[in-house]
Symmetry: C2
Subunit: 293 residues, 2 copies
């Protein structure tokens, strides 16, 4: 497995793979890897859905990046204390079958005088966009840079960050990027908590309370599957579960259009996502589930 720290190194590695006719799969991460990330790396070996089936098997090359992107953190967020474990991460990438890992220093990604921002309107307004101003501009800009550096055919993102995936898909479509943006199902702990690098912040009591997120999704899904179509009623089901968890402070619980993230009118007659963000002390967790009609 190649460990690459500069842009020229990535380009040379990818150019050599291209000369062999390989397809490039890419998994951008902020490191402190868990099984959610590793499932993305394994999925990146599979053929891109948008391509015609190849007559002969095509070599797949999988590249991950580990970069805690400062521009997607707000001034009062956890950039400086975001958990990092480079040796452990590299071992996990190796075990997951990555062919290369790109670990750029901040000054490689943002040399002095960086001035360019990519902004996706509308989809970035609600949900996490409302409580994290500028967050998605930072995400879009760094993801576009990484796509440009790697020149990947397919890039994989976890569905836990549902809005992020929707925004990146929209960016890729709107800018005609030659990349297939692929989502991958949320990977959960045994008790239902969605895997997140930020779970490490939770103390034992908070860790128990945090089960309420997936429990709220499950309860709401059950009501939906029993026929309830009132968006506000379903949101209230989720809210009731979270409010019963000690120490949980709700940032948002919202049902929105699964593709556009627009507000939904009742009764629900299109696929929607139930998305929630909840704080436990200084730790903010997100989770979601799609309710398909």
């Amino acid at each position: 497995m190649e460990i690459l720290r500069d842009i020229a190194g990535v380009r040379a590695f990818v150019a050599a793979a291209r000369r062999r006719g390989a397809r490039i799969g890419f998994v951008p991460t902020m490191g402190f890897l868990h099984d959610g990330h590793l499932s993305l790396m394994r999925a990146a070996r599979r053929p891109a859905e948008a391509r015609a089936p190849a007559l002969a098997p095509v070599e797949a090359v999988v590249i991950a990046s580990i970069f805690v992107n400062p521009t997607q953190f707000g001034p009062n967020e956890d950039f400086s204390r975001y958990p990092r474990d480079e040796p452990g991460d590299l071992e996990k990438c190796r075990a997951a079958g990555c062919d290369a890992v790109f670990l750029p220093p901040v000054e490689v990604m943002y040399p002095s005088g960086h001035r360019t921002t990519v902004h996706v309107d509308a989809l970035t307004g609600p949900l996490c966009g409302a409580s994290r101003p500028g967050h998605f501009d930072g995400v879009c800009t760094v993801v576009l840079k990484l796509f440009s550096i790697v020149g990947c055919d397919v890039a994989l993102f976890g569905e836990k960050d549902y809005q992020q995936l929707a925004v990146i898909r929209k960016m890729a479509t709107d800018l005609d990027l030659p990349v297939e943006v692929r989502g991958h199902p949320i990977v959960r702990e045994a008790d239902g908590l969605a895997m997140s690098s930020r779970n490490v912040y939770l103390d034992p009591t908070q860790r128990v309370s945090a089960r309420s997120l997936s429990a709220a999704l499950a309860a709401t899904r059950a009501a939906f599957e029993a026929g309830e179509r009132g968006a506000r009623t379903l949101e209230a089901v989720a809210r009731g579960v979270i409010e019963a968890a000690p120490g949980a402070e709700i940032d948002y619980i919202e049902i929105r259009d699964a593709v556009t993230l627009a507000a939904v009118t009742q009764p629900i007659d299109t696929d929607v996502v139930l998305a929630l963000a909840v704080r436990f002390g200084r730790t903010r967790l997100i989770d979601n589930t799609v309710l398909a009609v």
Copy 2:
């Protein structure tokens, strides 16, 4: 010469050229082509400066685009009356040796629901950015889209639109785009007027007055070469020439840093650009010259 109107057609054309090992040169235009555009198309055949010299000559493929981009026009600007001549343009592209021309309809470039914008800060504030709010966001967004569609190795832009070239260079650097952005010297009419598709708007009297732009640049250059280093003094030389031209209304005449477009302190001790924008009736013309120390 291939005439392409959809994105899939461009991608297929470029993919075939890539399989032959060709290098892709790209000239984005808004059509109504003049010798300035055609010189870009001829220059696009030459090797990219950033590439190592090839052992064997590399085939060059030249693609031009013709697209009057609505998002870079303000509400009171000349989008609807911008001159168009598709048959004449195609004949000129053929004569200039283009291998393909991309002429997308607006709905191909901006399908309903387009939401993404690329913004370059700082460089877009002064000069044309001050009098054309949003203009450079429109330019950057469409140019990034065209780069993504074409997948070019080198893209050429005329230096008449000096700020546009500086902004696009900055965007390409900041977003790590795998494209060499190359400028090309201004092409002028016999009497010095910089070639522009908008020159067709000028009536005969305005056409004579418009000689004052290049005359102002020449007079200022002469003062600079004679040793004058006061930016305000040099701007006043240019202003004097323009103000003597009947019907000329000055939008701006400014000396700025040639790379960052920052305001310059006096005396001038770094390469600067003298840039100007002048209206003749409803027609706004721009011109510039670099003063190298």
